[in-house]
Amino acid sequence: MKALAAGLGLIAYIGCSSLLVYYHPQSVLAFLLFEASLLLIYYAALPQKAKLFLSSLVLIFLMPVLGVSNGYYLEVAIQVGIYVALALGLNIVVGLAGLLNLGFVAFFAIGAYLWAIFGSPQANQFIAGNFFPLSPWWFFVFLVLSIFAGAFTGALLGLPVLRLRGDYLAIVTLGFGEVIRSLVNNLDKPINLTNGPRGINPIEKPPLFFQPVLHFFGFESAAASLYPLYFYFLVLFLVVVIILVTRRLNDSSIGRAWKAIREDEIAAAAMGVPVVRMKLLAFAVGASFAAAVGVLFAAKQVYINPESFTFMESIGVLAMGILGGMGSIPGAILGASVVTIVNLQLLKGLSLWLNSLRQSGIVLSLPLLGSFDLSQIPAQFEPAKYERMVFGLILILMMIFRPQGILPPRQNSERSNGAA
C-alpha cells in the first residue's frame, strides 16, 4: 500500500516536472527538478523492479522526448553523462581502492586521441597511403580497443609508482597527467602524430546503422537531428555498462580487496591480499573506463585539442566524486550531474544576467555609497569562467564539513544484499 502511494506520487512528480521542462525551455530550475526525479526514484520505498522501470522511463523515454523539443537540454544531458562516466571511473580508483589519482584526465585523453587520430585524416601524416579516416564502423572497434589501451597505460603508470605512499602517488599521477598533455601538445614534430595545439578536425562520428530501419518505419530524419539523440543513447549505454561492471566488481572478492587496501594496507597485505596487483587492477579498470569515454567524447566533439585535457579537468572529476561521495555509485552520478549543471547553466546564467545588467544602463544610487552605473561592471568579470572557484570551494567545504560526501556508500550493503 505504502509502495503504491510512493509510486503514484513519484509518477505524478515526474509528470509535473517534465511538463515544467517542456513549457519552460529556458529554465534551469525546471531541468534540475526533472533531474531530481532520478534521485527520488533511488530513495523511494519501492521494489527494485519498479525503480528500474521508472528510471528507464525517465532516461529512455522522457529525456529524449524533452531533448527533441529542446536540443540544449539534450546537450547538457550528454555532457552530464560523460562526466558521470568519468566520475564512476575515478570512483573505482579513489573511492574503492583509496588511491588518489590526480592525472585521471590523461586516460580520457588517450582514448580521445586514439579515435581522433585514426578516425580523421590525421593518421595519413605518418602512415603511407590514403587509408584514413577509417570508416565510421571502426568507431565500435576503437571503443573496445580503447578499453585495452586505457588498461595498458593505467598499468604502465601504476607499475612503477604504486609502491609510493598516498600523497606522493597523487603528485606523480598529477605529473603523469601533465606529461601526457604536454606530449599531445608537442608531438606535431618530428612526426606529426597529434597535430599539436591546433588539434584534430574533423573526427568521424559513429555510423547511423539504424537509419534504414527508421526509414522502413516511415521516420524520415536528417542525420544532423539524429546525432544528438544517438550520442545520448551511446552515453547512456556506456554509463549503464560502467555501473553494472562497478557493481559486480564491488560485490566480488576484488572489490573487497580494494576496500581492505583502502582501509588499511598493511592489514590487507597480512591477510593475503596481493596489494600491488590489486592496486594495478584498480588503476587499469578506472583508466579503461576513462579511455572508452574519451573515444565517445572525440566522436561527439568532432574537433579536439589539448585544451580539453588539462589538470583542471582531473580536479573537476575529483570534485564531482567527492561532492557525491567517494565509493558510492549514486554519489558519483549525483556529484557529476550537480557540478556539470552548475558549470553549464548556473554560471553561464549569471554571466548572461550580468551582461544584461551592463547593457541596461541603470544607475544604482545607494545611500551612503553614492551612485554606481551598472554599465561600469568590468567586462573581464565573467562568472562563467569561474569553474576553478566552484571546484575549489566544493573540495574545501566537503573536506571540512562532510568528507564522506552527500550520498556516502552504504556501510552494510554486502550483508543486506546477501540477505535479499
Binding site: G98, R165, G166, L174, G175, E178, V179, I266, I315, M389
Partner: protein, 322 residues
C-alpha cells in the same frame, strides 16, 4: 659545438637564477612538510600572491608618478617586504581555515583540501584583479636600474636582474638558516617537526609554531613571487602552477623536510632545466626543443621517487601504514 660553448655562460646563469627561485619556493613546501607531513598544494598560489602584491604596488607608484622619483633600491625593498608579509599572512590564514580543522583526518583529506584551496585562490586572484583592473594578465613596469648588465671581459655579460635575484635569495636563505638554527623560535619549530606530542609537553605552543612555519614558508614563497615577476615580467593568476610543481620536485629531490636539501634540489633542478631548454634541440638536431623542459622536471620527479624516495640529502624516513 662552438655555438653550444658560446651560450654556456648565459645558460649557467639562467639555470642558477631559476634554481634560486625554485629553492625559495621549495622552502615553503619542505618546511610545512617537515612539521605536518603534508603537501601544501596551495603554496604555488601563495607565491603568485607575492607576485601580484609586487606588481600592484609598482603599478600604483607608476600611476601616481612617484616611481621615477623614488630610489629603485628602496622600491624593491618595499615591495619585497609587502609581498612577503601578504603571502605569509595568507598562508597562515589558509592553515587556520582549510588545514587545521583536518589535522587528525586521514592524510589524503588535507591534501584534497589544499588542492581545493589552490584552485579557489587562483580564481579569487582573478576575481579581484578583473574587478579592480578589468584584466588579470599584468606585467611588471620596468625599472631602469634592473635593465642594465655588468660586463665581465668581452664575452660574459651578467644582467643586474639576475644578480638581484641571486643576492636576494642568498640573503633570505641566510636569514632563514639563522632563524631556524640559532633562535629560540627556530628551535621550537624544529622540536615540533621532530615530535609534536613531546614538544607540546615541553611547553611549546604547537599550533602557534605551525602557524609560524606557514608564515615563514609563505613569506619565502612571496619573495620568490616578486623575484619571478621582476625577472620574467608577466604574471597571471595561473602562473604559479608550473613553478610550484617544479619547486615541489626540487624539495623532493633534495629530500623533503630538509632545508639545505631544498636549496640544493632547487639549484640542481634549475640547472637541469636551463640545460635541457638550451641544449635539447642541439643534441637532437631540432627534433625535440625547449618545449620539453616542463616534462623534464616531471621525469626527474618520477625517477627520484622510484629510485631514491628519500632524495639527495634525505636521511629521515618515517615508516607509516597508509
Amino acid at each position: 659545438m662552438e655555438f653550444a660553448l658560446s651560450i654556456l655562460p648565459s645558460v649557467l646563469m639562467d639555470g642558477i637564477v631559476l634554481g634560486f627561485m625554485y629553492a625559495l619556493i621549495a622552502l615553503g613546501y619542505t618546511m610545512v612538510y617537515g612539521v605536518l607531513e603534508f603537501i601544501n598544494f596551495a603554496h604555488s598560489e601563495i607565491f603568485v600572491i607575492g607576485a601580484f602584491v609586487g606588481v600592484e604596488i609598482l603599478l600604483g607608484l607608476q600611476t601616481s608618478g612617484s616611481l621615477a622619483a623614488l630610489h629603485p633600491a628602496f622600491v624593491l625593498f618595499v615591495i619585497l617586504v609587502a609581498g612577503m608579509l601578504c603571502s605569509g599572512l595568507i598562508a597562515m590564514g589558509l592553515e587556520r581555515v582549510a588545514y587545521r580543522p583536518l589535522r587528525s583526518a586521514p592524510r589524503l583529506v588535507p591534501l584534497i583540501s589544499a588542492i581545493g584551496a589552490s584552485f579557489f585562490l587562483q580564481d579569487f586572484i582573478r576575481f579581484v584583479e578583473s574587478l579592480w583592473r578589468n584584466t588579470f594578465y599584468l606585467s611588471y613596469p620596468s625599472l631602469d636600474l634592473l635593465e642594465t648588465s655588468l660586463k665581465f671581459g668581452t664575452a660574459v655579460e651578467v644582467p643586474i636582474k639576475s644578480l638581484l635575484v641571486i643576492a636576494t635569495a642568498l640573503l633570505m636563505l641566510f636569514f632563514l638558516y639563522f632563524f631556524v638554527n640559532r633562535t629560540k623560535l627556530g628551535t621550537a619549530i624544529r622540536a615540533v617537526a621532530q615530535d609534536p606530542a613531546t614538544a607540546s609537553l615541553m611547553g611549546i605552543p604547537v599550533n602557534r609554531m605551525i602557524a609560524l612555519t606557514f608564515f615563514v614558508g609563505g613569506a619565502m614563497g612571496g619573495a620568490a613571487g616578486i623575484l619571478f615577476g621582476l625577472q620574467y615580467s608577466l604574471v597571471n593568476p595561473y602562473s604559479g602552477f608550473f613553478p610550484g610543481l617544479k619547486a615541489f620536485t626540487a624539495a623532493v629531490l633534495g629530500g623533503i623536510g630538509n632545508i639545505p636539501g631544498a636549496v640544493l634540489g632547487g639549484i640542481v633542478l634549475g640547472l637541469l632545466e636551463a640545460f635541457a631548454a638550451s641544449y635539447l634541440s642541439i643534441l637532437t638536431d631540432g627534433a625535440f626543443g625547449a618545449e620539453y623542459k616542463d616534462l623534464f622536471a616531471f621525469a626527474v620527479l618520477i625517477l627520484i621517487l622510484i629510485f631514491r624516495p628519500k632524495g639527495l640529502m634525505g636521511e629521515r624516513v618515517r615508516e607509516e601504514g597508509a
